[in-house]
């Protein structure tokens, strides 16, 4: 589904990614882990087209995408959710999702009021139902708590019926109880939708529970890649990143 080959990215003299490769297979949940500064978010931004790599390539379903801007990439069936829950704060939850639906289908250049887009309104209702936000559909996003904003962010990511979902630290900023809920929610939803997932996450429990495969980044390079069990027992990884808590 997604191939990252020998990707290099530098900022001035700092080498953020050094010949990083990874392959995300269709239907798998692939985690990208590593400490702060390992290059996870940089790689995430390269994949979604926010940064151009200095070397290497990114392929989606066999097609090179690393030279494309983000709006083109997301229209190719990639849902994106950023590290900090991001919504359009001046709009209601429903309007956020409706705009995502229209934006991903190139339909924003139409004259009639947004409120008259019945089909999009029904679909938005459905998506908000999937993420459990139907009761706050008409609340302005600025008034929603972080957990709801993250769910809204995921609902917007799903608006284009993606095959691949990219989540950058979906649990960041949540309390312990909220993390558990969010993990359950992501697993249930994405397995039901049969999506392919690439996500970055600091929470070791979440990574080991959700991921089918893990790539470990360290100082901009791939340190290890494999099944969760193998990664969990890899002494280099345990020593450097998992802090021994799961060894």
């Amino acid at each position: 589904m997604l191939e990252v080959r020998e990707v290099t990215k530098a900022f001035g003299g700092f080498l953020a990614l050094n010949r990083v490769s990874l392959s995300v297979e269709r239907g798998r949940f692939h985690a990208l882990v590593g400490p702060n500064g390992a290059g996870k978010t940089t790689l995430f931004n390269v994949i979604v087209g926010r940064y151009r790599p200095d070397g290497g390539e990114v392929r989606l379903k066999g097609r090179r995408i690393h030279h494309l801007p983000t709006p083109r990439i997301v229209r190719m069936g990639v849902g994106v959710s950023f590290q900090r829950a991001q919504a359009f704060l001046s709009m209601t939850a429903r309007e956020n999702v409706m705009l995502a639906l229209l934006g991903l289908r190139g339909g924003v250049y139409r004259g009639r009021p947004l409120s008259r887009f019945r089909r999009e309104a029904e679909r938005a209702e459905e998506l908000l139902g999937w993420v459990g936000l139907e009761k706050v559909a008409d609340r302005v996003a600025a008034e929603l708590p972080l957990g709801d904003l993250k769910r809204l962010d995921i609902a917007m990511s799903l608006a284009g019926d993606p095959e691949l979902l990219l989540l950058d630290e979906p649990l960041a900023g949540l309390s312990r109880a909220e993390r558990r809920q969010m993990m359950d929610f992501i697993e249930r939803l994405l397995r039901r939708l049969k999506l392919t997932l690439l996500f970055t996450e600091h929470d070791t429990d979440a990574v080991l529970r959700l991921a089918d495969r893990i790539t470990v980044l360290h100082q901009g390079e791939v340190l290890a890649e494999g099944e969760p069990e193998a990664i969990k027992n890899d002494p280099r990884v345990v020593e450097a990143f998992l802090g021994g808590s799961h060894a």
């Binding site: 926010r50 709009m91 995502a100 934006g103 004259g111």
Partner: protein, 300 residues
């Protein structure tokens, strides 16, 4: 809604009871209202402070003035050309400016407008230089105080109706989405550059229509139409009235012009009074006159 209808009926019949001078002052208020509303499309919907909107106002004015005086067009027939030239100018300036943000956008728009002002100010052979283009024949309708009043009111209402429709359309939401969160906007397939440029061009076109009206109001075109103080008038009107409401800039423009006429008839210290009014509003009523009257903000 009732208050709006009442205001509209009042504006329709007001010229029958007012002096010529009062009608002319109100007309000037409508022209500034259209200009300020155009500016506010970029200021509020896109979240960008343009200090160069006088360029589009001036482009509309000089297009009308030059077509009438040099090509013999009837004044009213120059409106589409004035709007088109202002829109094209906005396309060029916007192409370079909307890529930048915040202070760089403000400085670039100011620089472009001042550059154009300098050209118009010195190009005696074509624009009349600092003498401007005086004595423009604008026809019987636009040449009468009441005729121009209704023409300006009509264009203002059309402009506001367009902005109202835009505000509620997916395009209006998309413009605000880019303002709210550029990264998120891109991740739902929106192109911030294309949307900002489109918003800027629409705003420039409306400002051009205001410039077109100004030619009839003064029967002349002057380089001052492109000077930075003209851009500042739109900014002041939008802040005075309340930029978050569709009618805020219009209310601010009418207050600015009416208050200006009232104060200037009594004292030479109009800028001082204006400064005090602005200070009071910004400090105590940051939502502007609309907030003072209890009007609810539009989206955002």
């Amino acid at each position: 809604m009732r208050a709006l209808l009442f205001a509209l009926v009042l504006l329709l019949f007001l010229p029958l009871f007012l002096s010529r001078y009062a009608v002319e002052v109100l007309t000037q208020g409508f022209i500034l209202a259209l200009f300020a509303s155009a500016f506010n499309l970029v200021f509020f919907q896109l979240g960008l402070l343009s200090f160069g909107h006088a360029a589009f106002f001036g482009a509309g004015a000089y297009t009308a003035a030059l077509l009438v005086t040099k090509a013999g067009w009837p004044y009213l027939g120059t409106l589409p050309a004035a709007v088109l030239v202002a829109a094209l100018l906005a396309l060029v300036i916007g192409f370079f400016s909307v890529r930048t943000s915040r202070i760089y956008f403000t400085m670039l728009t100011l620089a472009f407008a001042q550059l154009l002002w300098a050209v118009v100010h010195k190009w005696y052979a074509f624009t009349g230089g600092d003498n401007g283009i005086p004595g423009i024949p604008v026809g019987a309708l636009a040449g009468s105080a009441k005729g121009l009043y209704y023409l300006a009111l009509l264009l203002l209402l059309l402009g506001l109706a367009f902005l109202y429709a835009l505000d509620r359309s997916p395009l209006g939401y998309a413009l605000r989405a880019v303002r709210d969160n550029e990264a998120r906007a891109e991740a739902v397939g929106l192109s911030p550059f294309a949307l900002r440029l489109l918003g800027f061009v629409l705003s420039g076109a409306l400002a051009g229509a205001a410039g077109f009206l100004q030619v009839a109001w003064q029967r002349s075109a002057f380089p001052d139409f492109l000077y930075w103080t003209k851009s500042a008038e739109a900014i002041i009107a939008a802040i005075l009235g309340g930029s978050a409401h569709l009618l805020g800039p219009s209310l601010g423009a009418l207050a600015f012009v009416e208050l200006g006429a009232f104060v200037q008839a009594r004292t030479e210290y109009w800028p001082l009074v204006l400064g005090l009014v602005l200070l009071f509003l910004v400090l105590f009523f940051p939502r502007g006159l609309v907030g003072l009257f209890g009007g609810r903000d539009a989206r955002g």
